[in-house]
Symmetry: C2
Amino acid sequence: MITSLNNEKVKRYAKLKDKKYQKQEKLFIVEGKHLVNEAIKRNYIKEIFLLKDEENIYGDVTLVTNEVMKKLSSLKNPPKVLAVCHFLKEEKIKGNVVVLSNIKDPGNAGTIIRSGAAFNYDTIIFSSESVSIYNPKVIRATEGMLFNINIITGSVEEIIKKLKKDNYIIYGTDVKDGKEPQATNKKHALVIGSESSGLKENIKKLCDQNLYIKMNPKCESLNAGVSASILMYSLNK
Amino acid sequence: MITSLNNEKVKRYAKLKDKKYQKQEKLFIVEGKHLVNEAIKRNYIKEIFLLKDEENIYGDVTLVTNEVMKKLSSLKNPPKVLAVCHFLKEEKIKGNVVVLSNIKDPGNAGTIIRSGAAFNYDTIIFSSESVSIYNPKVIRATEGMLFNINIITGSVEEIIKKLKKDNYIIYGTDVKDGKEPQATNKKHALVIGSESSGLKENIKKLCDQNLYIKMNPKCESLNAGVSASILMYSLNK
């Protein structure tokens, strides 16, 4: 059992709240029973930390005190269990794809991963300007689905050009000449633009078809996680 | 211009972060240009506070220093403008209705208000167990749409019974015997259950039809704001 806040492992893993150390160590932390279980299922566990006196339903664990758990956690109310996980494996692009061109809000990014897994997307591309996949709020909002979908970080423009060569249909979103989304069996990529300014011009030009969700004119826009989810649902009904 | 943190008005309005004082004063604060403009349009303004040196596009304002703005704001990065607003007027139930039976997350509640306005719902019912409409995170997530929709707080069970007498169709959500949502012209109420445990048994019994969004079995559920939005969109296409 670890009781000391000065334990070397605790000091090392507590730094994983910081993007820089995550990258350096290729490790990140997931918190709470549900996420830890998803990480176990998919073999991403490096080490599990469990509060002493809690029931161990996880296998190999390191017991810790409340204080140690608090130091490792990025939550105001630390969980009973958390796990240090290895970085996600990036596989080759496969199946239908969602491209996050410039999504800054961690809740939106995590929600899109969760909905993407629900609506049978296999790959999610994060542009380098988007929020980090390993941001604790992204991870929480995915509800563990980050382990169930292939997530790739890269240049959106290059990846879309490659997808076009592979005969993907590229769907953008635009109010101007957008069509209501319809169910399709065709291999496609859905490109989601920035929360505040939509898709950039260079990306818009690469899209084969713009989609638009009809709404009351008193409302200017939907939440980005919501509109991405409605489009994913509608394309894959 | 107000420069002192001990100004009586500043001390009074700074307390409006607290639910208790909001209720007592029947006042709440909205932050940022977009929300302040929506409040102006719908005549909800009591007083606007603008950072000195910022352009006044709002009409009657009280200028304040950075420090005063910081004291009034509930944001880490205080806005350039905020407004103290009167509580929302509760009108009679009209049009299609969304019922939040037990929504605890402020982001979800605000997102449902925003999507409700987009998909032509006229009334939103907040159960007394749900998060407060005046929670600053709810207000931000609505993107100003809280001023464009009739919001009522009350007993979900009583209100649903009343709606049934008025020939509303009551849609619940359930995995078990749920049907895929279809567009409808009929007057209806959509009841959204708790993020963690869905609809309570006594409320389920009152529903005429359960709806279900088909999804990949590896994903247990969608974000509550997303699933409510997909249902609203699908019922009103």
